[in-house]
């Protein structure tokens, strides 16, 4: 809504120029649908036992729950460009990044349910997902993703591997000291690091205007001499174009970039959030720019997919999610004695 909307011919030009094909776009559409259905399914299960009285400790999924419905395009637009060996470090809102990075959906779901077949055998939970196989991790501590991804980038540089590391964060996290400190280190050592700031306008209940002195976070990266791009986070093609440029640079030794993607979370900061800090009108406005609908419409306009193909993609995604939730529900809880093992190797 704040970017010029290209006509079909220009869109084809932009997308093709960025290396996008009908196949890639359909894959992205399917991935974004997978994330959407997954988050919605988790939300549904999360409220089991928590109604009518909402209590964090009740039901099959306990504790806080931060979902990313509405933010699918940022995760997929970036992660489609990554290999298994590239590193992603995520945040307290990690499911969309995990899924986009290729984390096994069954193990992801089982971890969220605290089951023994979960990624971390039930020890981590929704905010602490670790997957060595896909080089994915996250943290519930805001601002923790930047230096850890920079560390991975340093390792790649030292070992002369053509790999990149991506730190995802919210715009709130970019106020944290680790943001500036990491930008400096990344510029100084020209690290193959990409910082992706998902600017969803709020950090918890705190709107950007109450917490950020500049109008956008990418401006700060520029002052550290880090390549910086501002994109429409609801627009998969826009995110992908920027991410492609950033990943290519990093992979070939041209140093770090920051991508700030303006987006919106439809659900509360966490489940149970009453949303007293924002208006229903604002939410409706953003919903009209839904990233999945937008990509679907464009694919049809471009003649890259018809409605039947989109529906097939959605149905496949839905089936995969149902399968993962069933897997998680039927997996067992860990043996209590597991709690005492594993502090040291």
């Amino acid at each position: 809504m704040w970017r010029a909307e290209p006509n079909v011919e220009d869109l084809r030009y932009l997308a093709t120029k960025a290396g996008l094909t009908a196949d890639l776009c359909l894959t992205a559409y399917r991935q974004m649908s997978l994330i959407r259905f997954f988050e919605e399914a988790i939300a549904e299960k999360y409220y089991v036992g928590k109604q009518p009285d909402f209590n964090l400790a009740a039901g099959p999924i306990r504790g806080e729950m931060h979902l990313a419905v509405g933010q699918e395009a940022t995760a997929v637009g970036v992660c489609l460009l990554l290999s298994d060996e590239d590193v992603v470090v995520s945040t307290h809102r990690p499911h969309h990044h995990a899924i986009a990075k290729g984390v096994d959906l069954n193990q992801l779901a089982a971890e969220i349910f605290g089951k023994v077949d979960g990624l971390c055998r039930g020890k981590g939970g929704h905010m602490h997902l670790f997957d060595k196989a896909n080089n994915f991790s996250c943290s519930g501590i805001v601002g923790a993703s930047y230096p850890q991804a920079a560390g991975a980038a340093l390792a790649f540089k030292v070992s002369s591997k053509q790999l990149v590391a991506v730190a995802f964060s919210g715009e709130g996290a970019a106020n944290h000291g680790t943001f500036g400190e990491t930008l400096n280190a990344a510029a100084l050592w020209q690290l193959p690091l990409i910082i992706v700031v998902e600017d969803n306008l709020y950090a918890d209940s705190t709107p950007k205007w109450a917490a950020v002195g500049t109008s956008q976070q990418y401006q700060r990266a520029l002052s550290y001499a880090v390549n910086a791009l501002l994109v429409d986070g609801m627009d998969f093609i826009d995110v992908y174009r920027a991410a492609k440029a950033a990943v290519d640079r990093a992979r070939h030794g041209y140093g770090p970039s920051l991508i700030e993607a303006v987006c919106y979370r439809y659900r509360g900061h966490f489940e149970g959030d009453l949303g007293e800090y924002r208006t229903q009108e604002e939410l409706e406005l953003w919903r009209r720019r839904d990233p999945i609908t937008l990509l679907g419409e464009r694919l049809k306009k471009l003649g890259w997919a018809d409605e039947a193909a989109l529906e097939r993609a959605r149905n496949e995604a839905k089936a995969e999610v149902e399968q993962a939730i069933a897997f998680a529900e039927s997996s067992s809880l860990p043996d209590p004695n597991e709690a005492f093992a594993g502090v040291f190797r």
């Binding site: 306990r62 605290g114 039930g122 020890k123 939970g125 943290s139 519930g140 809880l333 005492f340």
Partner: protein, 342 residues
């Protein structure tokens, strides 16, 4: 007298009443307006005092803790929220190298009237980075007064005392005692005076009198210890339950007297077991009551592992009524019960 449900209401009311009288008090922290610092400690304040005195900060623990140090040195009394105690790492340098030390290092020139509010504890599935209590870490650092309220009455009275104290005071409010609707509540609704009152730091409370065993604890664990004591009473075991209320200053005398009376001590703590509250209290008690002890002092705490996510794992590490009960039984043993019934 009206009743209050939980410590969050006591803390928020105390700040409100003191802010009304003292213009130097300002509230700083993440989400302290709409969300009352998430766990209710600052709820309602921004409506009354506005955003200039109740200030939402960016997510910058190091900076707003440092600003509290600077503002206190310049004459304000900042109330700072560390949303979850687990986030201390992001602001600890300003706390332990400055807030806690500047009065001492400046030869007494700079008072440091800062009140830190922080939420502690697990038991609702929030895993390793959002379930710790960590007051042992802060108590280890000279220069902080450490308050762990277990009741709304204590929460209000100690918060008023903190806001009238020229030193850094940290109030560790347990999430399961806040009384907020989205969390389990293990406290009691209780009568709390409406007018402001200050409680003295360094006075432990005997929450239940007994003669066979002394259980010493703080915060949520006081309530679990009391529940265990009730069960033990059915077994014919008489338990004294002491709430330390403040770790710094610590009321050793009340602990020692009780140990001398019962000869058996069990310390219950939700913090990590090693190098923390249990060891320190045990040291102080044995130093003065050694001759009266019938057996070595016992403890129940979080075995030295992070708090795991999954429910059965979490239940295995956070001390439960059952674990306290079993340890108390092991302490008093069979012979005591037999002797009583004989």
């Amino acid at each position: 007298m009206r009743k209050l449900r939980g410590i969050a209401f006591g803390i928020a009311e105390a700040i409100d009443q003191e802010m009304g009288k003292n213009r130097d008090i300002v509230v700083l922290g993440e989400d302290v307006t709409y969300w009352g610092a998430v766990f209710g400690f600052t709820m309602g304040l921004h409506k009354k005092y506005g955003r200039d005195r109740v200030i939402d900060t960016p997510i910058t623990e190091q900076t707003f803790m440092g600003m509290a140090v600077g503002a206190a040195a310049a004459g304000l009394h900042p109330v700072v929220s560390l949303m979850f105690v687990d986030f201390l790492g992001a602001g600890f340098d300003q706390m332990y190298n400055h807030m806690a030390k500047n009065h001492y290092m400046s030869g007494g020139q700079f008072a440091m009237p800062v009140t830190v509010l922080t939420a502690i504890g697990g038991g609702y599935g929030d895993a390793g980075q959002h379930s710790q209590v960590l007051y042992g870490l802060f108590s280890h650092t000279p220069g902080f007064k450490i308050v762990i309220p277990s009741t709304a009455f204590d929460a209000k009275g100690f918060t008023v005392a903190a806001l009238r104290d020229p030193n850094p005071v940290i109030i560790f409010g347990h999430k399961l005692l806040t009384g907020l609707p989205f969390l389990p509540f293990e406290g009691d609704e209780e009568e709390v005076p409406e007018e402001p009152y200050a409680l003295e730091f360094g006075k432990a409370a005997v929450r239940r009198e007994g003669s066979d065993l002394t259980i010493i604890s703080a915060g949520l664990m006081v309530h679990r210890s009391l529940k265990a004591a009730e069960r033990l009473e059915h077994d014919g075991i008489s338990v004294e339950v002491i709430d330390v209320r403040t770790l710094v200053p610590l009321d050793s005398q009340t602990l020692v007297e009780s140990a001398r009376k019962t000869g058996r001590v069990l310390i219950v703590d939700e913090d990590y077991q090693s190098f923390g509250m249990t060891g320190e209290l045990a040291f102080r008690i044995q130093a003065e009551a050694f001759a009266a002890l019938k057996e070595p002092i016992r403890r129940v705490a979080v075995p030295d592992v992070p708090i795991p996510f999954s429910e059965p794992l979490e239940n295995a590490v956070i001390p439960s009524v059952e674990r306290i009960y079993q340890e108390a039984k092991a302490s008093v043993g069979k012979e005591n019960k037999v002797a009583r019934s004989a």
